[in-house]
Protein backbone atom coordinates (compact mmCIF):
# COMPACT_ATOMS: atom_id res chain seq x y z
CA UNK A 1 0.00 0.00 0.00
CA UNK A 2 2.46 2.57 1.19
CA UNK A 3 5.12 1.69 -1.38
CA UNK A 4 5.15 5.14 -2.91
CA UNK A 5 7.76 6.78 -0.73
CA UNK A 6 8.53 10.46 -1.05
CA UNK A 7 11.56 10.25 -3.42
CA UNK A 8 9.47 8.29 -5.87
CA UNK A 9 6.79 10.93 -5.80
CA UNK A 10 9.38 13.55 -6.60
CA UNK A 11 10.50 11.55 -9.59
CA UNK A 12 6.94 11.22 -10.78
CA UNK A 13 6.13 14.90 -10.49
CA UNK A 14 6.68 15.92 -14.12
CA UNK A 15 4.79 12.83 -15.07
CA UNK A 16 1.83 14.12 -13.16
CA UNK A 17 1.86 17.33 -15.15
CA UNK A 18 2.11 15.38 -18.33
CA UNK A 19 -0.86 13.41 -17.23
CA UNK A 20 -2.65 16.64 -16.50
CA UNK A 21 -2.09 17.73 -20.07
CA UNK A 22 -3.34 14.46 -21.38
CA UNK A 23 -6.55 14.44 -19.42
CA UNK A 24 -7.16 18.15 -19.61
CA UNK A 25 -10.53 17.50 -21.22
CA UNK A 26 -11.69 16.30 -17.82
CA UNK A 27 -10.47 19.56 -16.37
CA UNK A 28 -12.03 21.61 -19.07
CA UNK A 29 -15.42 20.01 -18.61
CA UNK A 30 -15.17 20.38 -14.86
CA UNK A 31 -14.21 24.02 -14.95
CA UNK A 32 -16.71 25.07 -17.60
CA UNK A 33 -19.59 23.16 -16.05
CA UNK A 34 -18.80 24.40 -12.57
CA UNK A 35 -18.60 27.98 -13.78
CA UNK A 36 -21.88 27.92 -15.62
CA UNK A 37 -23.81 25.94 -13.09
CA UNK A 38 -22.35 27.14 -9.83
CA UNK A 39 -19.95 30.05 -9.96
CA UNK A 40 -21.92 32.44 -12.16
CA UNK A 41 -25.18 31.96 -10.22
CA UNK A 42 -23.26 32.41 -6.98
CA UNK A 43 -21.76 35.59 -8.37
CA UNK A 44 -25.25 36.79 -9.25
CA UNK A 45 -26.30 36.20 -5.66
CA UNK A 46 -23.28 37.98 -4.21
CA UNK A 47 -23.82 40.99 -6.44
CA UNK A 48 -27.49 41.14 -5.52
CA UNK A 49 -26.59 40.96 -1.84
CA UNK A 50 -24.26 43.91 -2.17
CA UNK A 51 -26.69 46.22 -3.98
CA UNK A 52 -27.85 47.91 -0.79
CA UNK A 53 -24.37 48.70 0.43
CA UNK A 54 -22.20 47.16 3.13
CA UNK A 55 -23.93 48.93 6.04
CA UNK A 56 -27.29 47.40 5.37
CA UNK A 57 -25.71 44.06 4.50
CA UNK A 58 -24.03 44.05 7.88
CA UNK A 59 -27.22 45.10 9.63
CA UNK A 60 -29.27 42.33 8.06
CA UNK A 61 -26.59 39.69 8.37
CA UNK A 62 -25.80 40.35 12.02
CA UNK A 63 -29.18 41.16 13.55
CA UNK A 64 -29.69 39.26 16.83
CA UNK A 65 -32.32 37.00 15.30
CA UNK A 66 -30.02 36.16 12.42
CA UNK A 67 -27.11 35.40 14.74
CA UNK A 68 -29.20 33.05 16.84
CA UNK A 69 -30.57 31.43 13.68
CA UNK A 70 -27.04 30.73 12.42
CA UNK A 71 -26.21 29.20 15.76
CA UNK A 72 -29.30 26.97 15.73
CA UNK A 73 -28.71 25.92 12.13
CA UNK A 74 -25.01 25.20 12.22
CA UNK A 75 -24.75 23.64 15.68
CA UNK A 76 -27.77 21.39 15.17
CA UNK A 77 -26.57 20.41 11.71
CA UNK A 78 -23.15 19.58 13.07
CA UNK A 79 -24.54 17.38 15.83
CA UNK A 80 -26.93 15.66 13.43
CA UNK A 81 -24.21 14.90 10.91
CA UNK A 82 -21.81 13.72 13.63
CA UNK A 83 -24.44 11.27 14.89
CA UNK A 84 -24.92 10.11 11.33
CA UNK A 85 -21.16 9.75 11.02
CA UNK A 86 -21.20 7.07 13.71
CA UNK A 87 -24.45 5.31 12.93
CA UNK A 88 -24.16 5.73 9.18
CA UNK A 89 -20.78 3.99 9.22
CA UNK A 90 -22.28 1.23 11.32
CA UNK A 91 -25.15 0.87 8.90
CA UNK A 92 -22.83 0.75 5.90
CA UNK A 93 -20.73 -1.90 7.67
CA UNK A 94 -23.76 -4.00 8.50
CA UNK A 95 -25.10 -3.70 4.96
CA UNK A 96 -21.82 -4.64 3.29
CA UNK A 97 -20.49 -7.29 5.61
CA UNK A 98 -23.45 -9.11 7.10
CA UNK A 99 -26.41 -10.96 5.76
CA UNK A 100 -29.78 -10.78 7.40
CA UNK A 101 -33.42 -11.01 6.38
CA UNK A 102 -34.82 -8.07 4.41
CA UNK A 103 -31.35 -6.70 3.88
CA UNK A 104 -32.17 -5.58 0.33
CA UNK A 105 -35.20 -3.66 1.53
CA UNK A 106 -33.23 -2.00 4.29
CA UNK A 107 -30.58 -1.11 1.72
CA UNK A 108 -33.23 0.37 -0.55
CA UNK A 109 -34.85 2.43 2.17
CA UNK A 110 -31.66 4.31 2.96
CA UNK A 111 -32.19 6.50 -0.12
CA UNK A 112 -35.72 7.41 0.78
CA UNK A 113 -34.89 10.76 2.45
CA UNK A 114 -33.79 12.06 -0.94
CA UNK A 115 -36.71 10.80 -2.89
CA UNK A 116 -39.45 11.89 -0.53
CA UNK A 117 -40.42 15.48 -1.14
CA UNK A 118 -39.19 17.48 1.80
CA UNK A 119 -42.69 18.59 2.73
CA UNK A 120 -43.82 14.98 3.05
CA UNK A 121 -40.74 14.17 5.09
CA UNK A 122 -41.39 17.06 7.43
CA UNK A 123 -45.05 16.24 7.74
CA UNK A 124 -44.35 12.63 8.51
CA UNK A 125 -41.67 13.43 11.03
CA UNK A 126 -43.98 15.91 12.73
CA UNK A 127 -46.73 13.29 12.82
CA UNK A 128 -44.50 10.52 14.15
CA UNK A 129 -42.61 12.61 16.68
CA UNK A 130 -45.37 14.87 17.99
CA UNK A 131 -46.91 14.25 21.44
CA UNK A 132 -49.60 12.00 20.00
CA UNK A 133 -47.42 10.36 17.33
CA UNK A 134 -46.05 6.83 17.20
CA UNK A 135 -42.68 7.68 18.72
CA UNK A 136 -43.53 11.00 20.35
CA UNK A 137 -46.23 9.46 22.52
CA UNK A 138 -43.69 7.01 23.97
CA UNK A 139 -41.34 9.81 24.87
CA UNK A 140 -43.93 12.31 26.08
CA UNK A 141 -44.39 10.60 29.51
CA UNK A 142 -40.63 10.92 30.04
CA UNK A 143 -40.97 14.64 29.51
CA UNK A 144 -39.16 14.54 26.19
CA UNK A 145 -40.75 16.68 23.51
CA UNK A 146 -39.27 16.29 20.06
CA UNK A 147 -41.52 17.81 17.44
CA UNK A 148 -41.74 21.62 17.57
CA UNK A 149 -38.53 21.96 19.54
CA UNK A 150 -34.89 22.20 18.55
CA UNK A 151 -34.70 18.45 19.00
CA UNK A 152 -37.24 18.16 16.19
CA UNK A 153 -34.99 20.24 13.95
CA UNK A 154 -32.17 17.84 14.82
CA UNK A 155 -34.28 14.80 13.98
CA UNK A 156 -35.27 16.30 10.62
CA UNK A 157 -31.65 17.13 9.83
CA UNK A 158 -30.57 13.60 10.80
CA UNK A 159 -33.28 12.17 8.59
CA UNK A 160 -32.38 14.10 5.47
CA UNK A 161 -28.62 13.65 5.80
CA UNK A 162 -28.56 9.95 6.68
CA UNK A 163 -27.96 8.62 3.15
CA UNK A 164 -24.75 10.59 2.73
CA UNK A 165 -22.56 8.73 5.21
CA UNK A 166 -24.01 5.33 4.37
CA UNK A 167 -23.60 5.82 0.66
CA UNK A 168 -20.09 7.24 0.81
CA UNK A 169 -18.77 4.55 3.14
CA UNK A 170 -20.46 1.65 1.37
CA UNK A 171 -18.46 1.74 -1.89
CA UNK A 172 -15.14 2.07 -0.08
CA UNK A 173 -16.01 -0.84 2.19
CA UNK A 174 -16.96 -2.90 -0.82
CA UNK A 175 -13.65 -2.15 -2.51
CA UNK A 176 -11.67 -2.88 0.63
CA UNK A 177 -10.28 -6.37 0.53
CA UNK A 178 -11.48 -8.51 3.32
CA UNK A 179 -8.20 -10.44 3.42
CA UNK A 180 -6.35 -7.46 4.87
CA UNK A 181 -8.51 -7.51 7.89
CA UNK A 182 -8.56 -11.31 8.09
CA UNK A 183 -4.82 -11.48 7.96
CA UNK A 184 -4.56 -8.83 10.65
CA UNK A 185 -6.88 -10.91 12.64
CA UNK A 186 -5.11 -14.22 12.10
CA UNK A 187 -1.92 -12.46 13.09
CA UNK A 188 -3.54 -12.17 16.49
CA UNK A 189 -4.90 -8.63 16.49
CA UNK A 190 -7.96 -8.18 18.68
CA UNK A 191 -11.24 -7.14 17.13
CA UNK A 192 -10.88 -3.68 18.50
CA UNK A 193 -7.34 -3.36 17.18
CA UNK A 194 -8.39 -4.69 13.81
CA UNK A 195 -11.15 -2.16 13.62
CA UNK A 196 -9.17 0.77 14.92
CA UNK A 197 -5.90 0.15 13.11
CA UNK A 198 -6.86 -1.68 9.96
CA UNK A 199 -10.44 -0.91 9.03
CA UNK A 200 -11.04 2.62 10.23
CA UNK A 201 -8.08 4.51 8.68
CA UNK A 202 -8.95 3.77 5.06
CA UNK A 203 -12.61 4.43 5.81
CA UNK A 204 -11.94 7.76 7.45
CA UNK A 205 -11.89 9.88 4.27
CA UNK A 206 -15.20 8.41 3.18
CA UNK A 207 -16.75 8.94 6.61
CA UNK A 208 -15.54 12.52 6.70
CA UNK A 209 -16.85 13.11 3.21
CA UNK A 210 -20.22 11.74 4.25
CA UNK A 211 -20.29 13.88 7.35
CA UNK A 212 -19.31 16.98 5.37
CA UNK A 213 -21.99 16.38 2.77
CA UNK A 214 -24.62 15.54 5.35
CA UNK A 215 -23.71 18.63 7.28
CA UNK A 216 -24.02 20.93 4.32
CA UNK A 217 -27.30 19.36 3.29
CA UNK A 218 -28.65 19.80 6.81
CA UNK A 219 -27.60 23.45 6.83
CA UNK A 220 -29.39 24.22 3.59
CA UNK A 221 -32.49 22.14 4.28
CA UNK A 222 -35.69 24.07 4.65
CA UNK A 223 -38.79 22.18 3.57
CA UNK A 224 -38.77 19.44 6.16
CA UNK A 225 -37.19 21.23 9.11
CA UNK A 226 -39.63 24.11 8.99
CA UNK A 227 -42.51 21.71 9.55
CA UNK A 228 -40.97 20.05 12.60
CA UNK A 229 -39.82 23.29 14.20
CA UNK A 230 -41.95 25.79 16.08
CA UNK A 231 -40.05 28.55 14.22
CA UNK A 232 -39.69 30.66 17.35
CA UNK A 233 -36.93 33.26 17.09
CA UNK A 234 -34.01 32.57 19.48
CA UNK A 235 -35.26 29.02 20.07
CA UNK A 236 -35.50 26.90 16.99
CA UNK A 237 -35.74 29.32 14.09
CA UNK A 238 -33.35 28.15 11.38
CA UNK A 239 -31.54 30.47 9.01
CA UNK A 240 -33.22 29.30 5.77
CA UNK A 241 -36.56 30.45 7.26
CA UNK A 242 -35.07 33.92 7.61
CA UNK A 243 -34.26 33.88 3.92
CA UNK A 244 -37.84 33.00 3.16
CA UNK A 245 -39.13 35.74 5.49
CA UNK A 246 -37.06 38.28 3.63
CA UNK A 247 -38.32 37.05 0.29
CA UNK A 248 -41.88 37.26 1.50
CA UNK A 249 -41.21 40.97 2.22
CA UNK A 250 -39.80 41.35 -1.31
CA UNK A 251 -36.44 42.03 0.24
CA UNK A 252 -34.22 40.25 -2.31
CA UNK A 253 -31.02 41.87 -1.15
CA UNK A 254 -31.76 40.99 2.49
CA UNK A 255 -32.52 37.40 1.51
CA UNK A 256 -29.34 37.10 -0.51
CA UNK A 257 -27.37 38.74 2.32
CA UNK A 258 -28.34 35.98 4.71
CA UNK A 259 -27.79 33.43 1.96
CA UNK A 260 -24.30 34.82 1.47
CA UNK A 261 -23.42 34.57 5.15
CA UNK A 262 -24.62 30.98 5.25
CA UNK A 263 -22.65 30.22 2.14
CA UNK A 264 -19.49 31.71 3.63
CA UNK A 265 -19.84 29.82 6.91
CA UNK A 266 -20.58 26.53 5.13
CA UNK A 267 -17.66 27.01 2.79
CA UNK A 268 -15.41 27.65 5.78
CA UNK A 269 -16.56 24.54 7.61
CA UNK A 270 -16.42 22.36 4.49
CA UNK A 271 -12.96 23.63 3.77
CA UNK A 272 -11.96 22.75 7.32
CA UNK A 273 -13.28 19.21 6.99
CA UNK A 274 -11.69 18.70 3.59
CA UNK A 275 -8.33 20.04 4.78
CA UNK A 276 -8.52 17.74 7.78
CA UNK A 277 -9.12 14.90 5.41
CA UNK A 278 -6.22 15.85 3.17
CA UNK A 279 -4.03 16.14 6.22
CA UNK A 280 -5.22 12.73 7.40
CA UNK A 281 -4.31 11.15 4.10
CA UNK A 282 -0.87 12.70 4.09
CA UNK A 283 -0.32 11.18 7.49
CA UNK A 284 -1.57 7.89 6.09
CA UNK A 285 1.02 7.87 3.30
CA UNK A 286 3.92 8.36 5.67
Amino acid sequence: MAVSSSPEIRVRRPNVWQQLNQVSWAWRITVVYLSIMLLIPTAAMLLRASTDGPVRFWQVATSPIALSAYEVTFVTAFIASAINGVFGTLLAWVLVRYDFPFKRIVDAIVDLPFALPTAVAGLTLATVYSDNGWIGSLLAPLGIKIAFTRLGVGVAMTFISLPFVVRTVQPVLQEMEKDVEESAWSLGASQFQTFWRVILPPLMPAILTGVALGFSRAVGEYGSTVLVAANMPFQDLIAPVLVFQRLEQYDYSGATAIGTVMLAISLGILLGINLLQAWGRRYDYK
Partner: protein, 357 residues
Protein backbone atom coordinates in the same frame (compact mmCIF):
# COMPACT_ATOMS: atom_id res chain seq x y z
CA UNK B 1 -10.90 -9.72 -16.59
CA UNK B 2 -14.19 -11.50 -17.04
CA UNK B 3 -16.28 -9.39 -14.69
CA UNK B 4 -15.13 -6.28 -16.51
CA UNK B 5 -16.31 -7.60 -19.80
CA UNK B 6 -19.57 -8.34 -18.11
CA UNK B 7 -19.72 -4.82 -16.81
CA UNK B 8 -18.90 -3.48 -20.22
CA UNK B 9 -21.69 -5.44 -21.83
CA UNK B 10 -24.14 -4.52 -19.12
CA UNK B 11 -23.23 -0.89 -19.37
CA UNK B 12 -23.79 -1.06 -23.10
CA UNK B 13 -27.13 -2.65 -22.60
CA UNK B 14 -28.00 -0.06 -20.01
CA UNK B 15 -26.99 2.76 -22.29
CA UNK B 16 -29.24 1.33 -24.97
CA UNK B 17 -32.09 0.92 -22.52
CA UNK B 18 -31.50 4.38 -21.21
CA UNK B 19 -31.53 5.97 -24.63
CA UNK B 20 -34.69 4.07 -25.40
CA UNK B 21 -36.13 5.43 -22.17
CA UNK B 22 -35.25 8.99 -23.09
CA UNK B 23 -36.67 8.74 -26.58
CA UNK B 24 -39.80 7.22 -25.11
CA UNK B 25 -40.15 10.06 -22.63
CA UNK B 26 -39.59 12.62 -25.33
CA UNK B 27 -42.12 10.85 -27.51
CA UNK B 28 -44.63 10.90 -24.69
CA UNK B 29 -43.93 14.55 -24.05
CA UNK B 30 -44.32 15.31 -27.72
CA UNK B 31 -47.53 13.34 -27.92
CA UNK B 32 -49.25 14.92 -24.97
CA UNK B 33 -49.93 18.33 -26.52
CA UNK B 34 -50.74 16.59 -29.81
CA UNK B 35 -53.46 14.64 -28.08
CA UNK B 36 -54.84 17.92 -26.82
CA UNK B 37 -54.92 19.57 -30.19
CA UNK B 38 -56.56 16.61 -31.84
CA UNK B 39 -59.15 16.78 -29.08
CA UNK B 40 -59.91 20.35 -30.02
CA UNK B 41 -59.94 19.42 -33.64
CA UNK B 42 -62.85 17.15 -32.99
CA UNK B 43 -64.78 19.91 -31.30
CA UNK B 44 -64.58 22.15 -34.31
CA UNK B 45 -62.10 23.87 -36.57
CA UNK B 46 -61.74 26.67 -34.07
CA UNK B 47 -58.37 27.77 -32.89
CA UNK B 48 -57.21 27.31 -29.35
CA UNK B 49 -56.27 30.10 -27.00
CA UNK B 50 -54.11 29.63 -23.94
CA UNK B 51 -54.65 31.58 -20.75
CA UNK B 52 -52.40 31.42 -17.73
CA UNK B 53 -54.06 31.99 -14.39
CA UNK B 54 -51.91 32.52 -11.31
CA UNK B 55 -53.61 32.38 -7.97
CA UNK B 56 -53.11 31.58 -4.30
CA UNK B 57 -53.52 28.05 -3.09
CA UNK B 58 -57.04 27.73 -1.71
CA UNK B 59 -58.83 29.14 -4.75
CA UNK B 60 -58.10 25.95 -6.69
CA UNK B 61 -61.18 24.15 -5.39
CA UNK B 62 -63.40 26.97 -6.70
CA UNK B 63 -61.54 27.44 -9.99
CA UNK B 64 -61.65 23.73 -10.71
CA UNK B 65 -65.41 24.07 -10.88
CA UNK B 66 -65.59 27.50 -12.52
CA UNK B 67 -63.08 26.98 -15.33
CA UNK B 68 -64.93 24.17 -17.18
CA UNK B 69 -68.09 26.25 -17.13
CA UNK B 70 -66.33 29.26 -18.56
CA UNK B 71 -64.58 27.14 -21.21
CA UNK B 72 -67.92 25.77 -22.31
CA UNK B 73 -69.52 29.18 -22.38
CA UNK B 74 -66.69 30.67 -24.43
CA UNK B 75 -66.79 27.73 -26.80
CA UNK B 76 -70.46 28.31 -27.44
CA UNK B 77 -70.22 32.05 -27.82
CA UNK B 78 -67.00 32.34 -29.80
CA UNK B 79 -66.45 28.86 -31.20
CA UNK B 80 -62.99 28.89 -29.74
CA UNK B 81 -61.37 26.59 -27.21
CA UNK B 82 -59.82 28.22 -24.20
CA UNK B 83 -57.17 26.30 -22.37
CA UNK B 84 -56.65 27.71 -18.91
CA UNK B 85 -53.34 26.75 -17.39
CA UNK B 86 -53.52 27.40 -13.70
CA UNK B 87 -50.79 27.76 -11.12
CA UNK B 88 -51.54 27.76 -7.40
CA UNK B 89 -49.19 28.52 -4.55
CA UNK B 90 -48.41 30.91 -1.73
CA UNK B 91 -49.56 34.41 -2.65
CA UNK B 92 -46.14 35.97 -2.08
CA UNK B 93 -44.29 33.30 -4.06
CA UNK B 94 -46.79 33.60 -6.90
CA UNK B 95 -46.32 37.37 -6.96
CA UNK B 96 -42.55 37.02 -7.14
CA UNK B 97 -42.92 34.49 -9.94
CA UNK B 98 -45.04 36.87 -12.01
CA UNK B 99 -42.61 39.72 -11.42
CA UNK B 100 -39.69 37.49 -12.40
CA UNK B 101 -41.31 36.45 -15.64
CA UNK B 102 -44.05 33.87 -15.10
CA UNK B 103 -46.29 34.90 -17.97
CA UNK B 104 -49.59 35.12 -16.16
CA UNK B 105 -52.54 36.65 -17.96
CA UNK B 106 -54.69 36.84 -14.85
CA UNK B 107 -53.69 37.05 -11.21
CA UNK B 108 -55.98 36.43 -8.28
CA UNK B 109 -53.92 37.02 -5.18
CA UNK B 110 -54.66 36.86 -1.48
CA UNK B 111 -54.08 40.52 -0.77
CA UNK B 112 -53.99 43.73 -2.77
CA UNK B 113 -50.47 44.42 -1.56
CA UNK B 114 -49.22 41.60 -3.78
CA UNK B 115 -51.14 42.89 -6.81
CA UNK B 116 -49.69 46.34 -6.14
CA UNK B 117 -46.20 44.84 -6.25
CA UNK B 118 -46.87 43.56 -9.74
CA UNK B 119 -48.21 46.99 -10.64
CA UNK B 120 -45.03 48.59 -9.31
CA UNK B 121 -42.99 46.21 -11.45
CA UNK B 122 -44.75 47.75 -14.44
CA UNK B 123 -46.73 44.70 -15.49
CA UNK B 124 -50.18 45.88 -14.45
CA UNK B 125 -51.36 49.34 -15.31
CA UNK B 126 -52.49 51.60 -12.45
CA UNK B 127 -56.19 51.80 -11.85
CA UNK B 128 -56.77 48.05 -12.02
CA UNK B 129 -58.99 48.28 -8.92
CA UNK B 130 -61.58 50.22 -10.89
CA UNK B 131 -61.76 47.83 -13.81
CA UNK B 132 -64.13 45.34 -12.26
CA UNK B 133 -67.06 45.40 -9.83
CA UNK B 134 -66.50 45.61 -6.08
CA UNK B 135 -63.09 47.27 -6.50
CA UNK B 136 -61.90 44.12 -8.26
CA UNK B 137 -62.33 42.13 -5.05
CA UNK B 138 -63.51 38.78 -6.30
CA UNK B 139 -63.56 36.67 -3.17
CA UNK B 140 -63.77 37.41 0.53
CA UNK B 141 -63.35 35.71 3.84
CA UNK B 142 -62.77 36.50 7.52
CA UNK B 143 -60.36 35.17 10.14
CA UNK B 144 -62.05 32.85 12.63
CA UNK B 145 -61.09 31.30 15.94
CA UNK B 146 -61.13 27.50 16.02
CA UNK B 147 -61.25 25.80 19.42
CA UNK B 148 -61.07 22.23 20.66
CA UNK B 149 -64.33 20.28 20.84
CA UNK B 150 -66.70 21.79 23.41
CA UNK B 151 -64.61 24.97 23.57
CA UNK B 152 -63.06 24.11 26.98
CA UNK B 153 -61.27 27.47 27.20
CA UNK B 154 -64.56 29.24 26.55
CA UNK B 155 -63.10 31.43 23.83
CA UNK B 156 -65.72 33.83 22.50
CA UNK B 157 -63.79 36.76 21.16
CA UNK B 158 -60.37 38.13 20.22
CA UNK B 159 -59.91 39.44 23.76
CA UNK B 160 -60.01 35.92 25.18
CA UNK B 161 -56.87 35.02 23.26
CA UNK B 162 -54.71 37.13 25.58
CA UNK B 163 -55.66 35.05 28.61
CA UNK B 164 -53.25 32.79 30.43
CA UNK B 165 -53.43 29.14 29.45
CA UNK B 166 -54.35 29.85 25.86
CA UNK B 167 -52.01 28.18 23.40
CA UNK B 168 -52.58 29.80 20.06
CA UNK B 169 -51.53 28.33 16.74
CA UNK B 170 -51.19 30.76 13.85
CA UNK B 171 -49.11 31.25 10.74
CA UNK B 172 -46.08 33.52 10.83
CA UNK B 173 -46.87 36.88 9.19
CA UNK B 174 -43.22 37.02 8.20
CA UNK B 175 -43.24 33.86 6.09
CA UNK B 176 -46.90 33.85 5.09
CA UNK B 177 -48.08 37.12 3.65
CA UNK B 178 -51.60 35.90 4.12
CA UNK B 179 -51.09 35.56 7.87
CA UNK B 180 -50.93 39.33 8.03
CA UNK B 181 -54.72 39.27 7.99
CA UNK B 182 -54.69 37.54 11.38
CA UNK B 183 -52.42 40.12 12.88
CA UNK B 184 -54.50 42.96 11.46
CA UNK B 185 -57.69 41.39 12.82
CA UNK B 186 -56.21 41.33 16.30
CA UNK B 187 -54.93 44.87 16.01
CA UNK B 188 -58.16 46.21 14.54
CA UNK B 189 -60.25 44.48 17.19
CA UNK B 190 -58.82 47.11 19.55
CA UNK B 191 -58.43 50.19 17.37
CA UNK B 192 -61.76 49.73 15.56
CA UNK B 193 -63.45 49.28 18.91
CA UNK B 194 -62.37 52.63 20.30
CA UNK B 195 -59.00 51.55 21.67
CA UNK B 196 -55.72 53.39 21.20
CA UNK B 197 -52.70 52.14 19.30
CA UNK B 198 -50.81 51.64 22.57
CA UNK B 199 -53.58 49.40 23.83
CA UNK B 200 -53.61 47.55 20.55
CA UNK B 201 -49.89 46.98 20.69
CA UNK B 202 -50.05 45.72 24.27
CA UNK B 203 -52.93 43.40 23.39
CA UNK B 204 -51.22 41.99 20.32
CA UNK B 205 -48.04 41.48 22.34
CA UNK B 206 -49.94 39.47 24.93
CA UNK B 207 -51.63 37.36 22.28
CA UNK B 208 -48.39 36.52 20.49
CA UNK B 209 -46.91 35.58 23.85
CA UNK B 210 -49.42 32.72 23.84
CA UNK B 211 -48.15 31.41 20.50
CA UNK B 212 -45.95 28.31 20.96
CA UNK B 213 -45.62 27.46 17.28
CA UNK B 214 -45.52 29.82 14.30
CA UNK B 215 -46.18 27.83 11.17
CA UNK B 216 -45.04 28.69 7.69
CA UNK B 217 -48.52 29.13 6.27
CA UNK B 218 -52.22 28.76 6.93
CA UNK B 219 -52.40 25.19 5.71
CA UNK B 220 -49.65 24.09 8.06
CA UNK B 221 -51.31 25.86 10.96
CA UNK B 222 -54.41 23.76 10.36
CA UNK B 223 -52.31 20.64 10.26
CA UNK B 224 -50.38 21.39 13.43
CA UNK B 225 -53.65 22.08 15.24
CA UNK B 226 -55.81 19.24 13.91
CA UNK B 227 -53.32 16.52 13.04
CA UNK B 228 -50.52 17.06 15.52
CA UNK B 229 -52.82 18.11 18.34
CA UNK B 230 -50.73 21.15 19.28
CA UNK B 231 -52.25 24.17 21.03
CA UNK B 232 -55.84 24.71 22.09
CA UNK B 233 -56.83 27.60 19.84
CA UNK B 234 -56.21 28.21 16.15
CA UNK B 235 -56.68 31.39 14.13
CA UNK B 236 -57.28 30.69 10.50
CA UNK B 237 -59.47 31.81 7.61
CA UNK B 238 -63.07 30.79 7.39
CA UNK B 239 -62.59 29.45 3.86
CA UNK B 240 -59.59 27.37 4.97
CA UNK B 241 -61.58 25.85 7.83
CA UNK B 242 -64.58 25.11 5.61
CA UNK B 243 -62.32 23.50 3.00
CA UNK B 244 -60.61 21.43 5.70
CA UNK B 245 -64.01 20.23 6.89
CA UNK B 246 -65.14 19.43 3.34
CA UNK B 247 -62.02 17.69 2.13
CA UNK B 248 -60.50 16.30 5.24
CA UNK B 249 -63.63 15.69 7.29
CA UNK B 250 -62.06 17.58 10.17
CA UNK B 251 -64.84 19.28 12.07
CA UNK B 252 -64.20 21.49 15.07
CA UNK B 253 -66.25 24.38 16.44
CA UNK B 254 -65.22 27.87 15.43
CA UNK B 255 -66.14 31.37 16.51
CA UNK B 256 -66.49 34.34 14.20
CA UNK B 257 -65.65 37.40 16.30
CA UNK B 258 -68.11 40.25 15.90
CA UNK B 259 -65.41 42.82 15.23
CA UNK B 260 -63.46 41.45 12.33
CA UNK B 261 -61.43 42.30 9.28
CA UNK B 262 -62.67 41.57 5.81
CA UNK B 263 -60.15 39.48 3.88
CA UNK B 264 -60.31 40.80 0.35
CA UNK B 265 -58.76 38.89 -2.56
CA UNK B 266 -58.43 41.05 -5.69
CA UNK B 267 -58.24 39.89 -9.27
CA UNK B 268 -56.41 41.70 -12.04
CA UNK B 269 -55.33 41.29 -15.62
CA UNK B 270 -51.61 41.47 -16.23
CA UNK B 271 -51.69 44.07 -18.95
CA UNK B 272 -48.20 43.58 -20.31
CA UNK B 273 -48.67 39.84 -20.72
CA UNK B 274 -52.16 39.86 -22.24
CA UNK B 275 -51.00 42.44 -24.76
CA UNK B 276 -48.03 40.30 -25.71
CA UNK B 277 -50.13 37.14 -25.95
CA UNK B 278 -53.07 38.88 -27.59
CA UNK B 279 -55.39 37.40 -24.99
CA UNK B 280 -56.92 40.52 -23.49
CA UNK B 281 -60.41 39.83 -24.70
CA UNK B 282 -60.71 36.31 -23.37
CA UNK B 283 -58.89 37.22 -20.15
CA UNK B 284 -61.32 40.03 -19.52
CA UNK B 285 -64.23 37.75 -20.23
CA UNK B 286 -62.91 35.24 -17.72
CA UNK B 287 -62.45 37.85 -15.00
CA UNK B 288 -65.93 39.19 -15.65
CA UNK B 289 -67.24 35.65 -15.45
CA UNK B 290 -65.70 35.31 -11.99
CA UNK B 291 -68.09 38.02 -10.78
CA UNK B 292 -71.22 36.37 -12.16
CA UNK B 293 -73.65 34.68 -9.75
CA UNK B 294 -72.74 31.27 -11.21
CA UNK B 295 -69.07 31.68 -10.39
CA UNK B 296 -69.75 33.36 -7.06
CA UNK B 297 -71.92 30.43 -6.04
CA UNK B 298 -68.91 28.16 -6.61
CA UNK B 299 -66.72 30.39 -4.48
CA UNK B 300 -69.40 30.25 -1.79
CA UNK B 301 -69.55 26.48 -2.05
CA UNK B 302 -65.89 26.03 -1.16
CA UNK B 303 -65.77 28.50 1.71
CA UNK B 304 -65.41 32.04 0.37
CA UNK B 305 -67.92 34.74 1.22
CA UNK B 306 -69.56 35.71 -2.07
CA UNK B 307 -69.23 39.31 -3.27
CA UNK B 308 -72.43 39.09 -5.28
CA UNK B 309 -75.48 40.25 -3.31
CA UNK B 310 -77.92 37.88 -5.01
CA UNK B 311 -75.74 34.88 -4.14
CA UNK B 312 -75.15 36.10 -0.60
CA UNK B 313 -78.90 36.26 -0.01
CA UNK B 314 -79.52 32.66 -1.03
CA UNK B 315 -80.64 30.73 1.98
CA UNK B 316 -77.93 28.04 1.99
CA UNK B 317 -75.26 30.73 1.61
CA UNK B 318 -76.71 33.09 4.21
CA UNK B 319 -76.96 30.19 6.69
CA UNK B 320 -73.37 29.19 6.11
CA UNK B 321 -71.85 32.63 6.53
CA UNK B 322 -73.00 34.38 9.68
CA UNK B 323 -72.83 38.16 9.33
CA UNK B 324 -70.13 40.11 11.18
CA UNK B 325 -71.29 43.14 13.14
CA UNK B 326 -68.32 45.40 12.68
CA UNK B 327 -66.44 44.48 9.54
CA UNK B 328 -63.45 46.69 8.83
CA UNK B 329 -61.10 46.66 5.85
CA UNK B 330 -57.45 47.44 5.25
CA UNK B 331 -58.56 50.90 4.13
CA UNK B 332 -59.77 51.55 7.70
CA UNK B 333 -56.26 50.78 8.90
CA UNK B 334 -54.71 53.15 6.38
CA UNK B 335 -54.20 50.96 3.31
CA UNK B 336 -51.50 48.38 2.55
CA UNK B 337 -48.58 50.76 2.16
CA UNK B 338 -49.13 52.26 5.60
CA UNK B 339 -49.85 48.87 7.14
CA UNK B 340 -46.73 47.36 5.68
CA UNK B 341 -44.59 50.20 7.03
CA UNK B 342 -46.26 50.41 10.40
CA UNK B 343 -46.39 46.70 11.20
CA UNK B 344 -44.26 44.40 9.11
CA UNK B 345 -41.11 46.15 7.94
CA UNK B 346 -37.84 45.53 9.76
CA UNK B 347 -38.09 46.92 13.27
CA UNK B 348 -41.79 47.78 12.91
CA UNK B 349 -44.56 46.78 15.34
CA UNK B 350 -44.42 43.05 14.69
CA UNK B 351 -40.68 42.94 15.34
CA UNK B 352 -41.15 45.10 18.45
CA UNK B 353 -43.72 42.82 20.03
CA UNK B 354 -41.59 39.78 19.22
CA UNK B 355 -38.59 41.41 20.81
CA UNK B 356 -40.75 42.33 23.82
CA UNK B 357 -41.58 38.66 24.34
Amino acid sequence: MKPWRWLKNTTRRFTALFLAGISLSVAIAACTPNANTSGTGQQGQASTVDLTLVSFAVTKAAHDRIIPKFVEKWQQEHNQTVRINASYGGSGSQTRAVIDGLEADIVQLALALDTERIEQAGLIEPGWEQEYPNNSIVSQSVPVIVTRAGNPQNIQNWQDLARDGVQLITADPKTSGVARWNFLALWGSVTENGGTEQQAQEFVRQVYQNVPILTRDAREATDVFYQQGQGNVLINYENEIILAAQQGGQQLPYVIPDVNISIDNPVAIVDRNVDRHGTREVAQAFVEYLFTPEAQAEFAAVGFRPVDASVAQRKEVADKYAPVNTLFTVQDLGGWDTIQQQFFEDGAVFDQIRAGN
